[in-house]
Symmetry: C2
Subunit: 104 residues, 2 copies
């Protein structure tokens, strides 16, 4: 049994409206955002803070890093789609990126 | 001017023979390997050690992480292809993964 149920269509719409920078991922029940930082050190600093949070939540992102860019996809694998865990992680990433001085 | 010249075909063949777990990336002058670890903590521990090395070398991987898996592509962007920097980084990753207890 998943730890969190999939969001209803209304809950999903409300969550995406609150999370300004995130969009629906293509062909998946998931959300995606690309962050860009002031170099690799800032990008990996962001990833390190998020990694600690991910372990604490036991909820981990799919992510790709190339130098100053971090591409993130969030979904809840054991629920087969988007849950409140993804919304919580997305909000944490937004706050952490803002605190780390991301550029976009 | 790039910091390191592209490898010659002979140098490339010799390097790939030495780096057992790496293969030619598809449609790019690059090499690729997927590492799998005993959970996210081990995978991100590996990435952290590699990140410090990458900053010291000023030579950074393209990589994607999903839980216990780290997919890596190495190439030298300013040389437009594979150089000794990629071979050095690949060897460092292999040694670090071995020391971090990777599973494959």
């Amino acid at each position: 049994m998943p730890r969190a149920p999939k969001l209803t269509p209304n809950e999903r719409a409300a969550a995406l409206a609150d999370l300004g920078g995130w969009k629906q991922a293509e062909n998946r029940d998931a959300i995606a955002r690309t962050f860009r930082f002031d170099g690799f050190g800032a990008a990996f600093g962001f990833m390190t803070r998020v990694a600690l949070k991910a372990e604490a939540m036991d909820h981990h992102p799919e992510w790709r890093n190339v130098y100053d860019k971090v591409e993130v996809v969030l979904t809840t694998h054991d629920a087969g789609g988007l849950t409140r865990l993804d919304v919580e992680m997305a909000a944490f990433m937004d706050a952490t990126a803002a605190a780390t001085g991301h550029r976009e």
